[in-house]
């Protein structure tokens, strides 16, 4: 018997018309489904692409960020997945420098030491020299080892003008119980270097207003930190409609963890105004501990309704040795409307302040000189954040998807209201931001 697998390309003479495509079209209209000669997304042998652009704008002319992202995913026949991603950030605007607002105008030396900037009376001091662009590249690889095991590996690098971050990660996943249960463990390592223009500020050094004072406040030209993250997770299919995930992760950072652009105001004990020395207000560069260990627990449940809608709820609890703990509640409802969907999103975040968070330093504390660590960065203070958003996606006939997302973010901080003149100032202004994203996957 002959049973030989052949490909038609061997043919030299073609007395016959090629009717296979016409038959394919006829079969498709008979079965009333689109032809899948164009392979569906995620099928072996194809590249899937995703392009998105994120626009982030804080109100009051503060930070504006534009971030185009381009991602390409290749699915291989044996289930391997390669993903390459590139993102470009352009940030402009201003960011609070940590000093308190004041009844009088305030003048600050820029982090580079090359110039000064002035904040009007009553305004939140913001460093408007904040301008940066960033490029980030990453590659990840996921592959099955066999039916029950899977591994992944990734590399990451990003570069800003004064900041370089390099990282690598690896993980392993074990399926159990007919793939209804998945256990995964991952480890990642990253190494970041900062080399700010004007060098690194010494911890709690006084901001200088002339070259000699500025130089006295400076330390090395660059510093670095390492971050090691470990994650353990389990995901479990509960029933045909429900899947649950539970993760524990621990993150250990070591090295230079301060923000070289943040300062604290020293406040006069009697007036509540800025404390002065030599006719200048006193501001100290912030100092944070040189290590941090964060633990977080994450729980997520997705529930699919009979009509195809999906409810997605999650909760994260984070605790660290800086005294911060936080709770994040996230809720999404994916409302399927034929080939489109609408996804309302609500997120609530609450955080307690770090042990060394201080909105300002008092004259007494400054003179005593025994403070080791202090920051006025609102991101380490007591804060509540709320995000309300809506995403719309539309799947096109050719399996491409267009989506857009609008979100509004409102963040409010609270804490020590101060005394004297300081009481008249808004020490905890809200941050409001509008986020707009458009994406297209093909």
């Amino acid at each position: 018997m002959q049973l030989i697998k052949r490909k038609a390309s061997e043919s030299t003479v073609r007395p016959f018309q090629k009717i296979a495509p016409a038959l394919a079209a006829a079969s498709c209209s008979l079965l009333s489904v689109a032809s899948n000669t164009a392979l569906a997304r995620g099928e072996a042998g194809t590249w899937d692409f995703e392009a998105a652009s994120l626009f982030y704008s804080e109100t009051d002319d503060r930070v504006v960020a534009v971030e185009p992202v381009f991602s390409a995913t290749k699915n291989f026949e044996d289930g391997e997945v390669l993903n390459l991603k590139a993102a470009f950030d352009a940030l402009t605007g201003a960011s609070p420098n940590g000093a308190t607002p004041s009844a009088a105008p305030q003048t600050f030396t820029t982090p580079s030491g090359n110039s000064t900037y002035t904040t009007d009376a009553g305004d939140a001091p913001i460093d408007d020299t904040f301008k940066d662009s960033r490029v980030a590249l990453s590659a990840s690889w996921l592959a099955p080892i066999n039916r029950d095991w899977e591994y992944n590996a990734a590399f990451y690098g990003s570069k800003e003008y004064d900041y370089l971050s390099l990282g690598t990660s690896g993980g392993i996943k074990r399926y159990l119980n007919n793939k209804n249960t998945a256990l995964n463990a991952g480890l990642s390592f990253s190494f970041d270097t900062i080399e700010p223009e004007g060098d690194i500020a010494k911890p709690l050094a006084k901001m200088g207003y002339n070259d000699a004072d500025f130089d006295a406040s400076r330390d090395d030209s660059s510093d670095s930190k390492t971050i090691i993250d470990a994650l353990f997770g389990v995901s479990q299919v509960i029933n045909r409609n429900t899947i649950m995930q539970f993760n524990y992760s621990v993150s250990m950072s070591d090295g230079y963890l301060s923000d070289p652009f943040k300062v604290l105001s020293v406040i006069d004990d009697t007036t509540g105004g800025n404390f002065e020395e030599g006719g200048n207000n006193v501001y100290l560069y912030e100092a944070r501990p040189d290590s941090r260990i964060k633990h977080s627990l994450y729980w997520q449940t997705k529930y699919a309704l009979a009509n195809g809608d999906v409810i997605d709820g999650s909760y994260r609890f984070m605790l660290d040795d800086w005294g911060i703990n936080s709770h994040t509640f996230d809720f999404r409802y994916r409302w399927q409307l034929g080939s489109s969907y609408l996804e309302p999103h609500f997120r609530y975040y609450m955080q307690s302040e770090a042990d060394f968070y201080k909105r300002y330093i008092s004259e007494t504390e400054y003179n005593a000189g025994n403070l080791k660590e202090a920051t006025a960065d609102y991101r380490l203070g007591d804060l509540d954040g709320m995000t309300v958003g809506l995403k719309y996606g539309h799947k096109l006939d050719n399996d491409h998807e267009f989506n857009m997302r609008v979100e509004y973010y409102l963040q409010s901080s609270s804490g020590d209201k101060g005394f004297g003149l300081l009481k008249d100032q808004d020490l905890y202004p809200d941050t409001k931001a509008l986020i707009f994203q458009v994406g297209y996957s093909f």
Partner: protein, 319 residues
């Protein structure tokens, strides 16, 4: 094994109940329809889910069989074939099948013709040697030819003495319809459930389709019957996606004076195709497409291979 319950109207031909065997690694569902062993291989679901899928497959297959079989009185086919020259209105599904048949007639230059069933009355493929004579053949040819059919969707008029027969496409159509029904059931369920890992093969006696590669990434290995050794040995095809259909003359032929007359008949001449391969399997996106390509190839007899080469599809020939 858990019990499968079906309403009587789901099983009009009163076939034996479908059977599910296997385990969580691979479920094997079997049932009978269209004079074939129908098989459903399912991976990645639990037993209850496998039973649901098997029941959907059996119900859909039996529905198609009952609607389009030539042997069920009062069904759609019967209504068409007993219309005695009167125009009748057909339902949307039949409309689609008639449109498809018409396209196949045109694409094959008249070699594929759903009116050719009347030739069965003179060609009896029972392994005997009764080859009809030219008088009988010419008499039958009067009632053959899609061009003689009045088809203006949804109105169909058939001359007295003519008959339509979807036998040449029924099994492939059922495979594709079952694939659609199973995919719809799997899609209906949330992506995050165990069903997102479900893969399956629908195999109706060698006409088959799969929903993708096996969960471990390997292809499905499916036996295709070896015509010469008849059931005892199989050749295998590997399938990652799409469908395979087989046309052949295994066990259905006439032997006279050393000439093997295949059961594939040329509707233009009324003659059996001689020198056709024993079996032709073709891989394509859908089982319908694969089935038509293998049938057309068979109708080209000794030219089968040349025809298939021109189609640029993957195929297997047994001579």
């Amino acid at each position: 094994m858990a019990e499968l319950t079906l309403e009587p109207e789901d099983n009009p031909a009163q076939h034996p109940l479908p059977k599910l065997t296997g385990n969580r690694k691979l479920w094997i569902g079997c049932f009978q329809a269209m004079a074939s062993d129908c098989e459903l291989l399912i991976e990645g679901v639990d037993e209850a889910q496998a039973l649901v899928l098997l029941m959907i497959a059996a119900k859909e297959t039996w529905r198609i069989e009952h609607k389009f079989s030539r042997y069920v009185s009062g069904n759609t086919m019967d209504r068409i074939n007993t219309s005695s020259g009167q125009p009748i209105e057909v339902d949307p599904e039949t409309t689609l099948l008639l449109n498809f048949s018409e396209q196949c007639y045109q694409l094959s230059d008249g070699l594929f013709d759903i009116t050719s069933g009347v030739l069965r009355k003179i060609w009896r493929f029972d392994g005997g040697d009764a080859v009809p004579d030219s008088v009988q053949i010419n008499d039958s040819l009067k009632y053959i030819g899609w061009n003689k059919v009045g088809w203006h969707s949804p109105m169909l008029s058939l001359q007295v003495g003519m008959e339509l027969d979807f036998g040449g496409i029924g099994k492939e159509y059922a495979v594709d319809r079952v694939m659609l029904a199973l995919n719809a059931e799997v899609d209906r369920l949330p992506k995050q459930s165990a069903f997102s890992n479900c893969r399956f093969v629908v195999n109706f006696g060698g006409d088959l389709a799969c929903s993708g590669p096996r969960l471990d990434g390997s292809p499905w290995t499916i036996g295709v019957e070896n015509s010469e050794r008849d059931h005892t040995a199989v050749a295998t095809v590997s399938l990652r996606q799409g469908a395979v259909a087989t046309s052949g003359d295994s066990r259905r032929y006439l032997l006279k004076e050393g000439v093997r007359y295949s059961h594939i008949l040329n509707p233009l001449t009324g003659e059996s195709i001689i020198d056709a391969p024993h079996a032709i399997s073709v891989a394509a996106t859908s089982c319908m497409q694969a089935g038509m390509l293998s049938t057309f190839a068979m109708l080209h007899g000794e030219q089968a291979e040349a025809f298939l080469k021109a189609q640029e599809v993957q195929y297997w020939i047994q001579r």
